[in-house]
Symmetry: C2
Subunit: 334 residues, 2 copies
């Protein structure tokens, strides 16, 4: 296929390529007559401008990179949809990347995106190190963090009030009479994990329940980890009467573990979990959850990023904190 360029259109319409460019971009007045000529030529030749060439000139790609842990995790998937919906009206495209929490992959992707000159990046950073990211930000890469924040990353973030929500969740269990409450904690080294643990501790403390290290297990934020951690928790003596599971994937693992042990929820073990599921009201037990505003996180981050891009400013270093919703359903007992 011989590419048809702007000059082909120009020739066909009997004008100069600048005129064609200008009708394309509505960037200066063109006499209606000539304009129609140009438009006709475009139609006839089925001309499609080269976004690549345009980007080279304009130094803008109308593309943003989205780096998450795993695009197949419904949490991120919803978030990405929020980003997409915010970007679409402005004709921005999304390049999505999954790091699997590997900081090397993260760095690789960041470099690729930077070299592809994306106008900005939205990312859920891995635990680190963040040298590449920080270096690129210093060189002018516009970035915004989602879900997690790190004090060594000099840019803004959109997160949720993890500590408060965790505290509320655990207090809910306490109010139901539970004293031995196990926690399935997330990946070490990221803000969400320790914030949620902090909320847990605060709740216990506020109600004079002594902390017990045996009741905190790391589930690595994945299904298998949640499964394993839950089995361990269930093996403590006496076993916990309730579990606080700190993310969606680990919740699946935790439920699998209960099943494995032949325990019913909430009769034998009550559960409160982080992250809501679309199917939460369709399958039993109906989970009591901290519903994070996933879609909004993405949407908001995209808005902030896009506005910085448009205004050619840096992304403000502000940390935007969105509120979680606590939804009581049957898994926590009655």
């Amino acid at each position: 296929m011989p590419t048809v360029t702007i000059r082909d259109v120009a020739r066909r319409a009997g004008v100069s390529s600048s005129t064609v460019s200008h009708v394309l971009n509505r960037t200066r007045f063109v006499a209606p007559g000539t304009r129609d000529e140009v438009l006709r030529a475009i139609k006839e030749l089925e001309y499609h401008p080269s976004a690549i060439a345009r980007s080279l000139r304009r130094k803008q790609t109308e593309t943003v990179g989205v780096i998450v842990s795993d695009i197949s995790n419904p949490f991120f998937t919803d978030l990405v949809r929020g980003v997409e919906d915010a970007c679409n009206p402005r004709d921005f495209n999304l390049v999505v990347c999954s790091t699997d929490e590997d900081s090397i992959r993260e760095a690789d992707y960041l470099r690729m995106l930077y070299e592809k000159q994306v106008d900005g990046v939205i990312l859920a950073p891995t635990a680190g190190p963040h040298d590449t990211l920080v270096g690129l930000i210093r060189r002018g890469l516009r970035a915004i963090c989602i879900d997690r924040w790190f004090s060594d990353i000099p840019t803004g973030a959109v997160v949720t009030d993890n500590r408060d929500a965790a505290r509320a969740a655990v207090e809910h269990l306490i109010s139901l009479g539970h004293r031995r409450i196990g926690v399935v904690a997330g990946l070490p080294g990221i803000s969400t994990t320790w914030e949620r643990l902090k909320g847990y501790s605060q709740a216990l403390q506020a109600h004079g329940i002594p902390a017990d290290g045996d009741l905190v297990r790391c589930g690595n934020s994945k299904i298998g980890g949640g499964f394993q951690a839950t089995l361990e928790l269930l093996a403590t003596q006496p076993p916990p009467s309730a579990l606080f599971v700190t993310n969606n994937l680990m919740t699946i693992g935790a439920m699998n573990a209960l099943r494995e042990r032949g325990l019913r929820c909430p009769e034998d073990v009550a559960i409160v979990a982080f992250d809501d599921f679309p199917w939460a009201t369709a399958f039993r037990p109906y989970l009591t959850v901290v519903a994070q505003p996933t879609y909004e996180i993405g949407q908001r981050a995209a808005q902030i990023l896009l506005s910085a891009i448009r205004k050619r400013t840096n992304v403000s270093q502000e940390k935007v904190i969105l509120s979680n919703r606590f939804v009581v359903r049957e898994s926590s007992g009655s």
Copy 2:
């Protein structure tokens, strides 16, 4: 930030820009000494090549577009992960787009991707019209369909054996003694929908069960549609004793509907559904499903596309059919 270009590196290293280019791309021999010089200059200047400029020259972007109905649908999300994992080793990036089954959005995205010169597109086409897509393919766009296929789209596809799987699913219900089996059908106009319906009919016919139009309802492939369709099915007289729900989202809707009507599954209504869920073994009822090889669909499609890109050939028009796995769990009864 003043962009540092290949010439800056060249100057610094005291060589020509072509030499730099060649060490960058390992595209011709460069004396070890000079090479080291160049590499050092690159380090010192923190040079990052411009993928945009390179793409303009090479007419290759190392990017593929992925167009699905909705990135937040776990079916597509898994599929996209398969695509990503296949693309990553080759350093290809993914631009993902959600159409919401709107052919206009589909066409818009296709145009954008074409103008951004993606090296190829992997898409789950909307019901149509497909003019834009077909036009672009004619102009040389490499594309491959996933999940669905259409005879008017002149390119390859990776799909699953929907008809056979549907038939097996329904026969399973029949073998359990069900005669009045309702179907929650998907979006009209796409191959998966009619293939699954076809399998349903064949199963009935093979067992001498007369077809009943009342037992087929369209759920539009979404949660709300599945909910509505299920309510309608449950209202027929006599009500069906089993339901065949033809995709994941509608299954959630169907379960919500059962709950709304106070019906238990499988005691009151048995269910067999299309699409497995990660949480299928964690929440009750454990669903009996046709598990599509979602990840593999994406992976396979990406392999085919990438190989066509590498060999600079067209995508073969072959239709690759992957096998489904039928997983019996409790929702279909015992």
